[in-house]
Symmetry: C2
Subunit: 372 residues, 2 copies
C-alpha cells in the first residue's frame, strides 16, 4: 500500500463530497464520486446520479475530454469491470489515458471485487486503494451490506421523550419531537430504498409514509431538486389484510409492498401495490432476505414498540436512531419497545453510540449493536 | 463597563481554574480564585479552600507580599466588604496597595452586593466587573441560588437505559450504567452540600450515600486529596420512621437529617443524626426553605420514580442530570418518573439541553427547565 499525500486526501474528500450528492437517488446503485487531477489541478469531476445514467468516472471523463490523458483519477469506489447497463468504467479510464487510479475502497460487489483494479493494472495503470476508507464505507452502508450479505441495512427509527415514552396513555403522540427532527426524518426517508411499517401504525395514524420535498431540510433541498425526489418503497406488515385502498399510503404513486402469510385479492388496489407472501415462521428474517433480493439497500423502520422489540430481539437492527425530545411524559405513557423475553439485566441488548447531534430542541442519537 | 483585553481574559481564566479547586470543599462558602498581576506577570495567586480559612484574595496577597503594591487583582467574585470570620477582603486589597480590581461578577450576597466594589472605589482603586461572568456563575450555582432565593440549587440525578428504564421488573438495577458513570456520580456527590433520598431507596438498596474517595475520577483525585474529603449531608425523607440505626448510612460519620412530619426518639441513633420536622402539606417546598436556612448550596437528589416525579411536578428541579446506558430493557422494566397528573402532551414539562458528555460507554445529559 502506498502512502498518500495531503493532496491525495483533499482530492478524495472532494470526490466523497460529490458522491454524497447522489445519496438520495442512486439506489440500488452505490453513491460514487470521481475527480480527475492533472498537474495538481482538477480537470474533470462528477458523481453518479441514478441507475441507468452515467457512472461517476464517465461524467468526470466527459468533462475532462483530452485533458484526461495523463491524469490521476480519485474514485470513492473501485471502478467497475463488468458490462452492466453501461460499459466498465475501468475500461473508460484506460481508454482515456489516465495514468493512476486511487480508490477509496474496493467494491465488494462480487461482479467487481478487485477485478476493476486488476484490469487497470494489466493495462499498466498504477492503482492504490483504501484512502478515506471509513468515509467511503459510511456513504454506502446499505449497498455494501447488500453486496456482502445479500441483506438490507436496517435503520430503526424511534422518537421518544426524555423518559423513553412515545405517546401519552391515550395514544396522543403528535408531536413529541419538534419540526427540525421531523424534517430530519424526511431526509432519512429520502435516503432510504424502502420504509418498513405495520398495518397497526397505518390504522392508528393513517400516515403517508412518503418523502415530502417541502419538508426536507434546506441544506438537502440545495442539492436535491423537487423533480428528482425518489419515494422509498413502502413495505407494510399486514398479516391480517387490514390495509385498504382508501389509506393515505396510496395517494403517493410509488410502490407499496404488503407483507402477509396468505395472498389476497388486490384488484381494488392501485397497480403499484404488490404482495410479498412469506411463511409465518421467521417472518422478519425471511423478509430481509426477500428485500435483499429485491435490491433494497437501506430499510428505514418507523413502527411501534412491538415491531421495534421484535427486530431488536431478532438482532436485525444495524442502526438504532433515536430522536429524544426534551420532555417528560411519566410512567403512564407508552413505552419504546417490547422485549417480553428479557428478564435479566445481563441479557439486555447492548449498543454503542456512534453519533450525537442536536436537532432543534431535540437530540438525535445513533447507535450500532455492540460487538457487531 | 470598560472593555477587557486578551490578557484580562487569560488572567481571569486562571483565577477561575484556581477557584474550581475549591469546588469540593468551600460549601457553604462560594468557590473563589484570585490572581495578582504586575507588569504582565503573576505575582500571587490563590483560592478559597474551606470556610474559616483564608479567602482567595488573602492567599494571593500573602504570596505576593510587597509585590502586591501596584498590582491588578483578578477575582472570580466581588471581594467581600463585611467582617465575617475574616476581615473584609476589599480592605486587604486596599491595604496591600493594589491599584485595580477586576471581578468576574458581583456577589449577590446581601452583605456584599456591590459594597465591596464601592469600598474599593472610595479608596481610589479602579474596578471593573463582568468578565467571564457565565463561567463564574456556573462555578457557584448553589451558593448564588441560595444568596438570591434562600433556596438550594436542586440537581436531580437519574440513571436509565436507552428506553428510559431504571430497573428490571424484578427490581434488579445493579448496574445499569458503567463504572465511569458511577465514578462521575461520586464526583457530583462530592461537589454537593447535601444529598436527598428516601427511606424507600434506603430500605431497597441499603446504600451508604457517601463519597468514596477511591471511586472518584482520577482527575479529581489530583486536586482533592483523601484527607480533604467532605461528605454531603444525607437528607432522607422518612415520614414513616423506617430508617434504622443499623442502616449503612450511619457507617459514615457525617450528618444525616431525617425528614418526617412527627418527631421520633433518636436515642439509638448516632449523634450526627438529626430530625427535620415539617408539615405534610407542601413538604418538599418547605424542605427546600429549611435546607436554604441550613446553608445547603447544592442538593443532589438520588431517588426513585416517585420522588423524581414529585420534584418535577412541583417545579423544584434546577438541573436534570441523566446518565443513559446503551441498553434496552423493554416495556416491562421500571420507568423513570411518575407524573400521575399529566394526561396531555401539551402539559408535559419541557427542558433544555445544557450539556452533553460521553462517559465511558454511557452518556450524560444535563437539562435545565425550559423558560427558567
Amino acid at each position: 500500500m502506498s502512502a498518500f499525500s495531503e493532496q491525495d486526501y483533499q482530492f478524495m474528500q472532494r470526490a466523497l463530497d460529490l458522491a454524497a450528492k447522489g445519496a438520495y437517488t442512486t439506489s440500488p446503485n452505490p453513491a460514487v464520486g470521481c475527480v480527475l487531477v492533472k498537474n495538481g489541478e482538477i480537470v474533470g469531476e462528477g458523481f453518479h446520479f441514478k441507475a441507468g445514467q452515467l457512472h461517476a468516472e464517465r461524467v468526470a471523463l466527459a468533462q475532462a475530454g483530452e485533458q484526461a490523458k495523463g491524469a490521476t483519477a480519485y474514485v470513492t469506489l473501485e471502478p467497475c469491470s463488468h458490462y452492466g447497463r453501461t460499459p466498465p468504467c475501468a475500461l473508460g479510464l484506460i481508454e482515456a489515458g489516465v495514468v493512476k487510479v486511487i480508490a477509496a475502497m474496493q467494491d465488494p460487489n462480487p461482479q467487481v471485487a478487485g477485478k476493476g483494479l486488476k484490469m487497470l493494472n494489466e493495462a499498466g495503470i498504477k492503482s492504490a486503494v483504501n484512502l478515506l476508507n471509513d468515509s467511503a464505507e459510511s456513504l454506502n452502508k446499505g449497498f455494501l451490506k447488500r453486496m456482502r450479505q445479500n441483506l438490507p441495512f436496517v435503520q430503526l427509527k424511534l422518537a421518544m421523550s426524555l423518559d423513553g415514552r412515545t405517546a401519552m396513555a391515550s395514544g396522543e403522540s403528535k408531536w413529541i419531537t419538534g419540526g427540525a427532527a421531523r424534517s430530519d426524518v424526511q431526509k432519512m426517508r429520502a435516503k432510504s430504498s424502502a420504509l418498513l411499517s405495520t398495518s397497526a401504525t397505518v390504522l392508528a395514524d393513517n400516515p403517508s409514509l412518503n418523502v415530502r420535498w417541502e419538508e426536507l431540510p434546506d441544506e438537502v433541498k440545495q442539492d436535491y431538486v423537487k423533480e428528482s425526489v425518489r419515494q422509498p418503497v413502502r413495505v407494510i406488515l399486514d398479516s391480517q389484510h387490514r390495509i385498504q385502498p382508501s389509506h393515505k399510503l396510496f395517494e403517493t404513486a410509488s410502490p407499496v409492498w404488503l407483507v402477509a402469510n396468505e395472498a389476497r385479492d388486490l384488484s381494488a388496489f392501485p397497480a403499484f401495490c404488490e404482495q410479498i407472501i412469506l411463511p409465518k415462521q421467521n417472518l422478519l428474517s425471511e423478509l430481509m432476505l426477500e428485500l435483499g433480493k429485491r435490491q433494497i439497500n437501506t430499510l428505514w423502520v418507523e413502527a411501534g414498540a412491538n415491531l421495534a422489540g421484535s427486530l431488536i430481539e431478532q438482532k436485525l437492527v444495524d442502526e438504532l436512531i433515536i430522536y429524544v425530545a426534551p420532555k417528560l411524559l411519566g410512567d403512564q405513557a407508552r413505552g419504546l419497545c417490547q422485549l417480553p423475553h428479557l428478564t435479566q439485566l445481563a441479557d439486555a441488548p447492548l449498543w454503542q453510540l456512534n453519533e450525537f447531534q442536536q436537532i432543534g430542541d431535540d437530540i438525535k442519537l445513533t447507535y450500532t449493536p455492540k460487538g457487531s
